[in-house]
Amino acid sequence: MDTFDLVIIGAGPGGYVAAIRAAQLGLKTALVEKRSTLGGTCLNVGCIPSKALLHLSAQFAFVADEKAAAAAGIKTKEVSLDLAALMKRKNAMVGGLVKGVGTLVEKRGVEVVRGTGRLGGDNKVVVKPEDGGDEVRLAAKAILLATGSVPVELPFLKFDGKTVISSDHAIALDKVPEELVVVGAGAIGLELGSVWARLGSKVTVVEMLPRIAAGFDEEVARHLQRSLGRQGLTFELAAKVTGLNAAKGKKKAVLTAERDDQKLTFPADQVLVAVGRRPATRDLGLEDAGVELDDNGRIKTNTTFQTTAKGIYAIGDLIAGPMLAHKGEEEGVAVAEILAGKPGEVDHNLVPNVVYTEPEAASVGLTEAAAKEKGLDVRIGKFSFGANGRAIATGATEGFAKVVADAKTDRILGVHLLGHHTSELIAEAVAHMTYGGSAEDLGRTIHAHPTLSEALKEAGLAVSKSAIHAL
């Protein structure tokens, strides 16, 4: 039996990126994956299909809104939705991408092993093929766990794939639900809620917290909530879901909840439970291998991503930190580099976070509230997209850019954006912060005109009250 330098369990963004980087660095690498395609949750049923649906549903919503279309000079007549065609298009987008990743990985000389992997003790990974064939044992000098996460199931709202669904199902419905109730106002709930609202559902978002988009700047969240409200989403905040009364004959299922002892009921064709994800640690053989979990059920790792078991590493959603694909990717690169004897590292303070609604919320670093909580003296610069030329010319004047800077050193501590395509703008903020940039540096960086990114520049200037296009 060949011994691999590195065997990776899970071919999501963390795992497959680690595999490619390891192969680049000359490590003999195997990648174990139970799905028939690589890319994990993100590419197959997560980030990518949801982005495809957001794009396709926005196109439909635009032409379906007769008034908006007419104002743009588009005459429409009896616009209707072909959901099957839309889903086919989405599947083609996803299919092309996962195929490309498969090619990349294989051309790098990574050995892809199909099946469900688990720790087999003695530096072995046991792979059980999905087709029921014989188990394969892979010997490894190092093992990387990258199995990601799965949707959290509520005990009183078990997924049945029909009425109670997870994000895995919500990206592949064959019918537009008349009434969709979304439990959880995080990124997944808001994005998929937006998709189905655009395609015609009456969407109600029920959230236990008194706000949406937890973790984002409060001002960003407030404006996003108002904006989504205008798009037809109804928010029921500070409401605790208590259960579901199943559908009976012609009567729809009813989700029950309570707020301040007041009972709430929401009739629903479908209930999307998007209250979070939990690390996929089950059936990995962690306990026998001596891999310990922390209080949140995440795998404990040290600064080099090594678990409590020697030679076994873990990254991404399995370990502490935000469950984001790009965080897992960077960790995958770092582990590969560390194993190759190089100084791999990830700056966990600079992981950007995005909600891909319209407008998009994008954020990195400390919020104003978090900075003040830390006792930091901060200065804030804000600039509205309403005063940005490109935003006006694009019909995307909603939102603003907000820069949080240290009052003394002017160093950028956080950037919070709400607006069209701000997921692309946030990268600039991350780059400035990576190099220790100040708000002044951001403000003195030349931006193409007209672009949405100028709003970020102006927000940088606004920290010292010197924004050009604002009073």
């Binding site: 240290d406 003394k408 050193t409 002017d410 160093r411 990576t434 190099y435 220790g436 940039g437 100040s438 002044e440 540096d441 003195r444 960086t445």
Partner: protein, 461 residues
């Protein structure tokens, strides 16, 4: 094809130097073998020579620290003087159908006017005023920051221009040691505080000096802008002096130095010199000095006490089996220590010849780096300036230095009688990390005995 001007190898222990001054200006047309720049290391100043004719473009600023092998300029052999104007003209001519040859001959015509105007601006424009130069419309340079400066964030460039704090002197906290705005603000604050302190000191002094202090106090200009005070003047240390300072301090800090003393009766050397000087000069064409006696005595002492002919490299002891002795000479540029090689194999005459050659080279400023490399031990003669006694500082990585001093007639006890003898104090500073006190004292005793009775040198005693 462009030719890179690189910092040449400066010898084994030197990996970097300071580009002290450019002798040409960016865009100048230069000739082969023209002097391009002056390079200073902690040991020597040397000149960089053009390997090819062409148009030069400078890649580093004056005063920059440069590494061996670093490209400091690029020469374009096809270049045609000042890039902007004349190359454009050359292009025009080419379009008119003129060949390369006529282009070359047009070079000198093109250059003359631009050359003189360039010179004027060079003289007036100090490198540090670069950022301000955008105000003066005459500057031919593109406005804003170029080359190295682009590596700095705009906020840092602005603060550098406003405050005069050099970002390269600030320790960076950003990624890869980059200087951030916060680092600059802290450095400026520190500088301002230092200036403030100095100001208050000078105020106190003024108050003490004068009665009408309160009136003049408010008008006291900032020290940096102050006209030269009559009581003191300020000028920046030359890079060479800064390096010397650094080395001396690091020698003191990194070694466990200790100095031991003895004295030597110079009667025998005097007598020998007096008796044989005429023949020696006639035979060898050079005078017999004191130094050759001491060098020979030191070689013999090193052979007797090898601990002093060794150095420490990290955790390794390196014992040397050769006798390259450095002799400190004072020059206009400061102290230099050329090395006389293989002194164990040299005659007195050969040593005197080498010393005379170094003295001449030093006067002419032509001592090369090779001349300064690799000594195992140094002799410093403070006696030429009249020093009676001193504790010399070791030249790392050597382990010892012998200090010679002035010869003074002193009463000494000889065979129970008081006699007047020409006496010299000797000092040996040694690195106590690898030389024991016993060895140091023994070494100095060997030197003393050999000088007092040079016949011992003859017999290897």
């Amino acid at each position: 094809m462009a030719i890179e001007v690189k910092v040449p190898s400066l010898g084994e222990s030197i990996s970097s130097g300071i580009l002290a001054s450019w002798k040409v200006k960016d865009g100048d047309a230069i000739d082969r073998d023209q002097v391009l720049y002056e390079l200073e290391t902690d040991k020597i100043t040397s000149e960089g020579i053009a390997e090819s004719a062409g148009t030069i473009s400078l890649k580093v600023e004056e005063g920059a620290e440069v590494e061996v092998g670093q490209v400091v300029a690029v020469i374009d052999p096809d270049g045609n003087g000042k890039a902007d104007s004349s190359s454009a003209r050359a292009k025009d001519k080419k379009m008119d159908g003129e060949d390369d040859k006529s282009k070359a001959s047009s070079k000198s015509e093109d250059e003359e006017p631009s050359d003189s105007s360039d010179k004027k601006s060079t003289d007036e424009e100090k490198p540090s005023s670069r950022h301000k130069s955008s105000d003066t419309s005459e500057s031919a340079e593109p406005s804003g920051a170029t080359d190295q400066a682009t590596a700095l964030p705009p906020s840092v460039r602005r603060l550098a221009a406003e405050s005069g704090v050099d970002p390269s002197s600030v320790e960076g906290s950003g990624k890869g040691g980059r200087v951030t705005k916060g680092d600059m603000l802290a450095a400026i604050e520190k500088q301002e505080k230092a200036e403030e302190d100095e100001k208050s000191r000078s105020r106190e002094k003024q108050a003490a000096d004068k009665d009408d202090a309160p009136a003049s106090e408010r008008d006291a200009p900032k020290p940096s802008q102050a006209p030269a005070d009559e009581r003191e003047s300020r000028r920046k240390l030359s890079p060479l002096r800064q390096k010397v300072a650094q080395r001396l301090v690091s020698s003191q800090q990194q070694m466990a130095t200790l100095t031991t003393f003895n004295e030597v009766d110079m009667t025998a050397v005097r007598t020998l010199r007096a008796r044989h000087q005429e023949d020696f000069t006639a035979r060898h064409g050079i005078k017999l000095g004191f130094m050759s006696f001491f060098i020979k005595a030191v070689v013999q002492a090193l052979q007797a006490v090898p601990a002093l002919n060794a150095r420490i490299e990290g955790d390794t002891l390196v014992e040397q089996r050769y006798y390259d002795i450095g002799v400190a000479v004072s020059t206009d540029r400061g102290l230099m220590v050329p090395v006389v090689r293989d002194c164990d194999q040299l005659s007195f005459a050969a040593i005197e010849e080498r010393l005379a050659a170094f003295a001449k080279k030093a006067r002419e400023g032509k001592i090369t780096l090779d001349d300064l490399q690799g000594g195992v031990f140094t002799i410093s003669n403070g006696g030429v300036f009249g020093s009676l006694l001193s504790t010399p500082i070791i030249n790392p990585p050597q382990s010892g230095i012998l200090g010679m001093h002035t010869i003074q007639d002193r009463p000494v006890a000889v065979d129970g009688k008081v006699e007047i003898r020409p006496m010299m104090y000797l000092a040996l500073t040694y690195d106590h990390r690898l030389v024991d006190g016993r060895e140091a004292v023994t070494f100095l005793g060997h030197v003393k005995r050999a000088v007092e009775d040079p016949a011992r040198l003859l017999f290897g005693l």
